[in-house]
Subunit: 487 residues, 2 copies
């Protein structure tokens, strides 16, 4: 019962194409992109494939706005030389979000069309074919989904709440805001990899199904694996470190990491994308910090220089200050951070961990004092870091570990790792970790291991904080949290 | 009980560095790379960090081979001006695979050192420090792990079986063969992404934890997810298609895919890396085939032009013919393939699927006739493809789907997908698939969907077959199969 109707003949001027296989065999027909519709194309007859963004019939005319991603153009079907009454009626009945092919002549307009990205031209449609029909009732309206909070409230205009957006992600992702966010995210990944490849890092692929939870088994998802069970990796750390012990020298990987944490906050996901780095160093773990901060700076510069359109598109809906950073990156010691907090009235002990509110407050204090949205906090108290963290050789209360922050929120946690099996065993014992469970981890260091360190960056957090957004679900295409597994 | 001994003073000339934190603070000391040790450096005094590859004491001398990845150099500690008896003894006792820092003068040699990558120079060591000590008994010897099968059998020399290699992957990955394989793999990923980015594709990140198994639930791993259960994605296909329906136009992703298939063969893994492509097309799904085959050709050319050293290194242990490909890529129709097989004596029906032996045989026949190791088999019988495959509009027995082969083995399966909710429902019903389970998949196409197609490439298979290897575990850093979950 597959309907194979014929391709549109050269005679028909409007039709719903039922040939679902689309083998129209129109090799000569070149499709123009909406963004290329400029006055230079005036009076040309062109073909275009686009979505019907809006449609408004008015007497013998039908005005359409045709959209491709963030670009749109006004188009007109008018009774006259090139369109019949029936064709205007046909056009007026095309549902929003349907995909159409149109043949049209490009016309310069007297007055700029403020509501479209292509402001200097409009299209006079001569033929129109529906390639894919959208159902008439959309679960959300694109113009509502991009409306800034509070705007249009007086006129009773709707905004769309986040769950409705996420439930109907395939439509929500069509908005200019979503298109911009995820094009920028693609840029973050590319800048991360290009910078590291340029620095001599090798990309690795690490397994996500693992036999033992390296950090003791909390917050880990269990997988049934044939007749046994396994876990989902909470980070690629062990594998990155094995690659360093296997002489790859400097490695990175980009991939999913899984946290079975029942945290329902604006910044936690149960599955997110880790941008992970690990490298051997020569004399000081600050070589690692320098490599990571320089990579971040290259990402910030690349976004600033190549993604201004996307940044401004997102800002229209979600206004925020431009992201500020220093070169070289500001590095504060933990004790300095604690001192700044105490000066601001916070009471905390030397070896206490930073609470989330204190992290944010410190971010504001650092911004005021140093005018940067990105900094490193170095030398965390040993007590608050994982067992594999290298202690500070000069002060056993502290460690060679660091977090990095964007707009006051943590985006990376990292450290020099213990590369000596004996010390690693001592520290694991101190943390009361079952040595049997971490045996293969410890054994990786028994056959010569260079001093090394690294860290893991959360991609969604970097995008959220760079853009000044307030929920990590906005920068995850299909977010996963304790309450959301679909779409 | 952390041992913080002092950094090596300028006076000591040999020592095991117990300062595990390595904050030697030697900012002026530049470490030279082994590959840069050429006659131009003759008579210079240099510092080097490397592994002790082999060590041989002979009277008042100790010969070491020092290694960094695939490069190595001969080094000598000899009693005389710059070394004491104790130092020679110290050097002779350093275990293989330990990491050392040496200060040495570079000397030109009269006769080429055939056993080392740096054949024209040797190092005369003046100071030597052990940075990380390897345990004396290695679970495998690197020289055994790279020995070609059969070589040295008469002398009783060992080779290392695959399970021993994989059990001790951190050492096995140090071999020249492994280093070359995984550097080439890193190159495949980079070439894949760069080619597609250049073509205007956007990189996406898709979730691996999903709520429903889109293809009915066979071969899928179950994850316990808080109070419910979920699955590991067998492919990112639904999400790629949703991105197409969400106007991203052309997308790719690189990430793990999971198959709970109890297949213990040379080419199946339970977790592998998928290089996935999906794109909207204008008039014919061959636009998709052309994009994918051109991407593969760019990968093949990039490997041929930029990874000759790696290819030849692997060939030393695993000899194979250079990989051949045509431009444009050869595309055969399924019926042509069946005809070639029948001519070679195979009995099969028009709509039968290809068995693995027949795929390999067809690969040999194609190689003989067309002199290519890479080709596309197009228009598979509709009956052997998944329900979402677009039927051929001209012959309902066939479909707009294709596989791609390297050296006679499948590396990609792809198709034009059905983009119409109604036709998709009909085809799912025909396949007796529970419509309730695929509701969200089908609903993705209700609000306007462009014609589109794509495919998924197995990274490990591409590397294995390009290099002419015979087991996919050789091209997976930490392979997962029904019997292996570690390391």
């Amino acid at each position: 019962s597959i309907s194979f109707s014929r391709p549109p003949s050269e005679k028909k001027s409007f039709e719903v194409i039922k040939c679902l296989c689309v083998c129209l065999c129109e090799p000569d027909r070149e499709l123009v992109r909406v963004q290329d519709l400029t006055p230079e194309k005036a009076d040309q007859l062109i073909w275009l494939r686009a979505r019907v963004h809006t449609s408004r019939a008015k007497g013998k005319q039908c005005f359409l706005v045709l959209r491709q991603q963030q670009f749109n153009v006004q188009a007109l079907v008018a009774v006259g030389d090139c369109a019949s009454k029936q064709m205007v009626k046909f056009a007026a009945n095309i549902t929003k979000e349907s995909i159409v092919d149109v043949e049209a002549s490009v016309r310069k307009v007297e007055q700029k069309i403020e509501s479209c990205s292509q402001q200097d031209v409009e299209l006079h449609i001569e033929r129109i074919f529906v390639i894919s029909q959208a159902e008439p009732r959309l679960p959300l309206q694109l113009e509502d989904a991009v409306r800034p909070d509070g705007e249009g409230e007086e006129e009773g205009r709707a905004t769309v709440n986040q769950d409705t957006k996420l439930d109907n992600r395939v439509i929500d992702l069509r908005t200019t805001t979503s298109q911009a966010i995820f094009r920028l995210q693609s840029g973050v990944c590319q800048l991360f990899r290009d910078t590291l490849t340029h620095k001599g890092f090798v990309e690795i692929q690490t397994p996500k199904i693992i036999s033992a939870a390296s950090e003791g088994g909390a917050n880990v998802f269990t997988v049934s694996y044939f007749k046994t069970s396994a876990y989902l990796a909470q980070s690629p750390q062990l594998y990155k470190q094995m690659c360093i012990c296997a002489d790859f020298d400097k490695v990175f990987c980009v991939g999913p990491v899984f946290r079975a944490e029942d945290s329902n906050t604006h910044r936690h996901l149960t599955e997110f994308v880790g941008l992970d780095i690990e490298m051997a160093f020569n004399y000081h773990y600050h070589e690692v910090i320098d490599s990571i901060t320089d990579t971040m700076v290259q990402i910030f510069k690349g976004l600033r220089d190549n993604f201004q359109t996307e940044i401004q598109t997102v800002n229209k809906q979600f206004p925020s200050e431009p992201f500020k950073f220093l070169e070289p990156t500001l590095r504060l010691e933990y004790t300095e951070g604690v001192a700044m907090l105490r000066e601001a009235g916070v009471e905390m002990g030397d070896e206490d961990d930073l609470s989330t509110p204190n992290e944010k407050l410190l971010g504001r204090l650092v911004k005021e004092k140093y005018d940067t949205d990105f900094y490193v906090l170095d030398k965390y108290p040993l007590a608050v870091r994982p067992f594999y963290t290298m202690p500070d050789p000069n002060n056993a209360k502290y460690s060679n570990s660091y977090d990095m922050f964007m707009r006051g929120e943590e985006i990376l946690s990292g450290a020099q790792r213990i590369h000596d099996a004996q010390l690693l065993t001592e520290r694991a014992t101190h943390h009361q970790i079952d040595l049997e469970k971490i045996k293969s981890y410890v054994d990786s260091f028994r056959f010569g291991a260079p001093p090394h360190g690294g860290g893991g960056i959360g991609l969604e957090r970097v995008c959220m904080l760079y853009l000044g957004l307030h929920n990590v679900r906005q920068t995850s295409m299909f977010p996963r949290d304790p309450k959301r597994l679909t779409p």
